[in-house]
Symmetry: C2
Subunit: 244 residues, 2 copies
């Protein structure tokens, strides 16, 4: 049977999502718990990886199991073995057609940035930029990314695969000195959100123009965006499926 | 010359405020920075200690120095050497009569508690109680502590000194499932806030009555309060001085 889980985690103390031999990872912690419950190794499949220090409000993963627990017991059972920085919000049986990664149709990321004075409580949760940014300039520039584009200039250097993605939403909202960047797309390659936000911040700081950003996008990887926002402010907010 | 500083710190990764030989402490980190700036050992004096994992929004300390920095440079100089979980909000020269501890006339603490489902992002910042509490019962009970009392039953076992203190305010506010307890008094002994809040939570959970809490207070240490709220939700919010 296949179980679908929605999980929230504070990425501060993890070396990312994907399991690694010697480092503490989200997948590693969850698989350790599932091994105890299932009494055998269980591999989980997430909607995608998140990098070191990146958070998730609603990440989705699934796994297959022979353990026949009553549906409402999975959530409690897994949370029983979770460290305090991971929490399973929901767990339910799903059909075998469902795949956390391949069934996902949209993903939403949020990025938080502070224009205020440094706040030691937010150091792992909000990028402490500490200076003003021109919101209107950023809003204008963000719209060049909407639609289907080859985002090669905004992806990691080591990704030579398909870098064509569709971005549906790129909102920028400011409240009490905290700027929230909200991106919804059909998928995001590694470092793509951080490069998009990084480029937009450079426009908001008047270091580059919207036109330069546009040239980077159109160059399809020839003119790379060299500005990558820090991981600490990044949240995987939501993964959307047909059924939702 | 005497310098007065206002400092904010995330207590999560500290073994409390007071300097210790082998553990990471707030005082230890600040004194290391001041030694670099002053080129000699400097001892700081705070308004009071905070325990391991307890936070400070506005803690106050002072120190004496022979280093003749322009007033506006102290803040930047100290912050230059601070780790990311401590931040100096203000630093200014003050007269030699001023003492962070002895000149303080009032202190304000806040305690945050969540009645909502567990949130992995708040584990170090809000006590994850996860059940409902009767706010009206707690408000009523909190008022028995207002005024001058011998708080011996709500202090640490190892404190035999003067346990008489005056509590001016004990507010309880709920917003979106987060309850904020706000206490203002002329001083608080070790663990006193956590015992007062712990006792009140027991009343809100209907495990003890207001009368039992009252008996504890009147017993002056014979009937100890055994409920001590976790350190993670506690914040030293403000230290008040005559001059303010």
């Amino acid at each position: 049977m296949r179980v679908k889980c929605v999980v929230s985690y504070d990425g501060s103390r993890f070396h990312g999502f994907q399991v690694q031999d010697k480092e503490r990872t989200v997948q590693g912690e969850i698989q350790k718990a599932l091994k105890k419950i299932n009494e055998e190794e269980v591999i989980i499949h997430a909607s995608g990886r998140t990098d070191a220090k990146v958070h998730a409000v609603h990440q989705v993963f699934h796994f297959d199991t022979k353990k026949d627990l009553p549906p409402q017991q999975w959530k409690r059972a897994i949370n029983h073995f979770m460290p305090n920085d991971i929490y399973i919000l929901d767990a339910s049986y799903t059909d075998d057609e469902f795949h956390s990664r391949y069934s996902a149709i949209k993903k939403e990321y949020r990025y938080l940035l502070s224009t205020k004075e440094y706040n030691p409580f937010d150091t792992n949760y909000v990028f402490q930029y500490g200076r003003q940014l021109d919101i209107e300039l950023m809003r204008e520039a963000s719209q060049i990314f909407i639609g289907e584009h080859n985002f090669a200039s905004f992806c990691s250097y080591d990704q030579y695969g398909n870098t064509i993605r569709t971005l549906y939403t790129f909102d920028i909202v400011e409240e009490d000195g905290i700027i929230t960047f909200r991106l919804i797309g059909n998928g995001f390659r590694r470092y793509m959100v951080r490069h998009l936000v990084g480029g937009i911040i450079q426009v908001g700081a008047k270091r580059i123009s919207k036109e330069i950003l546009s040239e980077m996008l159109e160059s399809c990887g020839t003119k790379k965006c060299l500005f990558k926002a820090k991981p600490q402010g990044l949240y995987l907010q939501e993964v959307y499926y047909e059924e939702d």
